[in-house]
């Protein structure tokens, strides 16, 4: 340990050789138990030998024991330094158990032919699911729809920005409007789909249909044509989530010092130039964050679609998630459904990485 580190050390460690050895044996012993139990269970599953295990719990318990011993062993072996490790290690183990390992299992399933109705169970089938995906018009159609859904974020952002500017201005009942505009965000998308999509837009008695008829549209049909149906889904989703972007942008606007705008005005900037040259660039970091988070929300879009159109008409409103839902849940096609989700995950990771890189570049000050 360097002298510098000693400044942050509460106690000076004097670790005995027995203590260090005990820690080492704890870690190694528990790891050995874990490996042995897992191997035995693996052998039983493979049909090599029956150890009498009824389920996988013994391996789970061995893993839990190893995790505890690993943490404890750090303190025994490394003293104060080990205690520091304890701030992070449980979280690492948790993430490992709850995210990394399931992801690895998920990958195994994704490359399997596993229909729950099949008597033969799960069978590894290499890249066959990928080939099936490549030739699956429903998946590509859903991906194409997702592009439209994501592009709809741009007008959503413009509306959210406008609303945020309004709510940031000195208007009457500003607090009331701030709360009122937030209300749609507090509704579950399932409630929105029933309340708006299935009730207000019901073509015979729905108030929106009546309004449309009153306005001269003889037989209003909100989900009859592909374009209209897609637009309506976008509108319902936008209505729910514009308040989210609005509140983020509003927070950003309130964080901009008033003096900046005043200085611009003194320099002779018009209202528009003041916004475009000063406010908007200053808001870029908040805007991009809001848009990125909104994209993540949008990529999960499924509930409204499942409830209102079930992906129709003819797949025009299908999202990747709603298609996977049908494939996995209605058709018990676990292997293929998992692969679709994995590919979607990879696409999202790539797209988000590119977006964040671009955002990083855009946000760098030009002056």
């Amino acid at each position: 340990m360097s002298a510098g580190d000693l400044l942050h050390t509460v106690t000076n460690d004097n670790l005995s050789a027995q203590r260090v050895a005990l820690g080492r044996w704890l870690v190694r012993g528990s790891a050995a138990i874990l490996v042995l139990v897992a191997a035995a269970q693996g052998a039983q599953v493979a049909g090599l030998r029956d150890f009498g295990f009824a389920n996988w719990r013994p391996t789970l318990y061995a893993y839990a024991l190893w995790s505890v011993c690993l943490c404890w062993g750090q303190v025994l072996m490394r003293g104060e330094q080990g205690k520091r490790v304890l701030f992070v290690l449980p979280a690492v183990l948790f993430v490992l158990s709850m995210a990394v390992l399931p992801l690895i299992f998920g990958l195994g399933i994704a490359f399997s032919d596993w229909n729950l109705a099949s008597p033969t169970g799960r069978k590894f089938n290499g890249l066959a699911n990928l080939a099936q995906m490549w030739a699956d018009p429903f998946y590509w159609n859903a991906l194409k729809n997702m592009v439209w859904y994501v592009l709809a974020i741009l007008p959503e952002y413009a509306i959210a920005f406008a609303l945020a500017l309004l709510l940031n201005a000195e208007i009457r009942a500003r607090k009331f409007f701030r709360v009122a505009f937030l209300l749609p965000l507090m509704l579950s998308p399932v409630a929105v789909s029933w309340m708006v999509g299935k009730s207000m837009m019901e073509i015979r008695f729905g108030p929106l249909a009546r309004l449309a008829r009153w306005a001269g549209w003889d037989s209003p049909s909100f989900f009859g044509s592909p374009e209209m149906a897609r637009f309506m889904i976008m509108a319902m989703d936008a209505w729910t989530f514009i308040p989210f972007m609005m509140i983020m942008i509003l927070a950003g606007l309130q964080a901009i010092p008033r003096e900046v705008q005043e200085a611009a005005r003194v320099d002779g900037a018009s209202g528009w130039r003041g916004f475009w040259e000063v406010t908007f660039p200053l808001m870029l970091p908040v805007s991009l964050t809001a848009i990125l988070i909104r994209i993540i929300f949008k990529l999960k879009l499924a509930d409204i679609i499942i409830n209102v159109t079930a992906g129709g008409p003819g797949g025009a409103t299908d999202s990747v998630t709603s298609f996977i839902f049908r494939e996995y849940r209605d058709r018990s096609n676990v292997g293929y459904g998992t692969l679709l989700a994995m590919v979607y995950l990879v696409l999202i990771v790539i797209a988000m990485t590119i977006l964040m890189k671009l955002a990083d570049r855009w946000m760098r000050p030009k002056y």
Binding site: S118, F138, R204, G314, R331, S332, V334
Partner: protein, 556 residues
Amino acid sequence: MKVELYHQAVRAGLTRRRLLQSGAGLGGMAVLGGTVLGAGLAPRAARAQSDLRAEILKIPGVGMGSPTDADWQKVGEMVLDATRANVAEGEFAGVELTFMGLNNQNLHNFLFRGFLKPWEAYTGARINWIDLAQADYNARLQQSIATGTVDFDIIEMGAPFEGDVLGKGLASEMPDWVKAQIDMDDYVGYLKAPVGTWGGKTYRISIDGDCHTFAYRKDYYDSAEFAEAWKAEGDGSDWAPPRTWAAVQAHSKFLKGRKDPLTGLDAHGFLDPLKGWGGFGFYFLEDRATAYAKHPDDPAWLFDPETMKPRVNNPAFVRAIQEVMDIMDTQPADQINADPGTTAFQQFLAGTGGMLTWWGDVGSSARTSDGSVVGDVVGFDILPGSDQVWNAASGAWEDRANEAPNMAYIGWGVYVMARVDSDAKRQKAAWSAAAHLGGKDIALWMSAYPSGFQPYRNSQFQYDEWEAAGYDRAFIEDYLGSNLDSYNHANAAIEPRIPGIFQYYSVAEDELAKGYAGQYKSAQETADAIAAAWEKITDQIGRDSQIALYKASLGL
């Protein structure tokens, strides 16, 4: 019985003067009055069968509010004689069983708990319960089977899942004493073998019946204006409720542009649900296709039992799909986004559309639902027939009249799992519990009070019993009659009880949606796309095993 139906009957029973004026009304009053007495009486061991049935119907009595757990227990106690005949008191002491079923509308398992409490007290066995929402049921069952974690001994299950469970040898074969106890000869026609059997062995205790019937607006056919116009513009036939799909088509086209006599809004003909419904929407295309596709000499109609080659793209189904497409322009606006829930509850019952196919719910809801405006103008029949039927064996149309009511979903049953077979005591206990729920007398109570189940035995259609219990005879005959004719039809179309049947339906819905949206060039191309998707599912699940299981389910 459905909850809404019961409530309506109760409301009607309390306000109807006719009830008090008629002899049946006196009977009804005796029932209402007798409830207080009957409720307090302990069941007599040697009660005559007819007395027992009359007594059961007094629990709690029509018009005495919804039954409670105490009532369910009382009913369970009253029908315990059948168990006493086969099981000694305390015979199952120490046995613990797990029952997996539904909790829809606080019915199903909730009733079973009450019914089985006296059985538990008498036999000494104990039952643990797994309650599932309908939406979770399929996934839970499939996952249990696929992961080898069947953790229940008795299951409430729909017949379409028999392929998944019976086909994999997971269920226990019904002992002969159970067959005698539950009087299986009393089942309506379509629930007799091969339904409930697999490879010649019997597994299912039926507790419910299901079929699609045809509902139509009587006022359309009583309308002098329509009759006159039809005489001038029609095909020369009488203006009467259609008996064939050809007539349904002609009437639907004729009604376009006319005004509904009840609502004054646009009139429409047959209502096709053009949007999927988690697989259940495919039943409605089947309704249109069975008359063309189900040949009386052939039990199979959806797949070829020798090859599992889909028949969904044969001329019979293509004709049905084409007929849907032919009258799409007569449907209400936005019909492309209408699922079966919409066609029944938001359209037909609300006064939009002249004809519909659906389960019995529409029959009961027409009179009982607050949202229904067609209660007095709705009529029922079995599904329309055809003047031609496709013969899959000869590959040609036959000119002959044909009818084939669609037994959509077949109904709920109780099954015992094979894991109890290793222990004779547990096995007898599980079957005894299941038989207690599937008995003839308890069935009468379940069809007369809210239970979530439809009648499934011929003895449940004795209208005198209903009338004596305080129900309006005309109402109950209207509700039950159309079902009875479908159930006992000689050419009823029974769906294939093979693994993954809802996967086939689900993918068919997706392809049909594309076809209806004009993304395929023709009905044939749409049907071919469904067939191709079905072939993939068959290959994935395993063609040979599907063939074997399909044949077993057909009793071949």
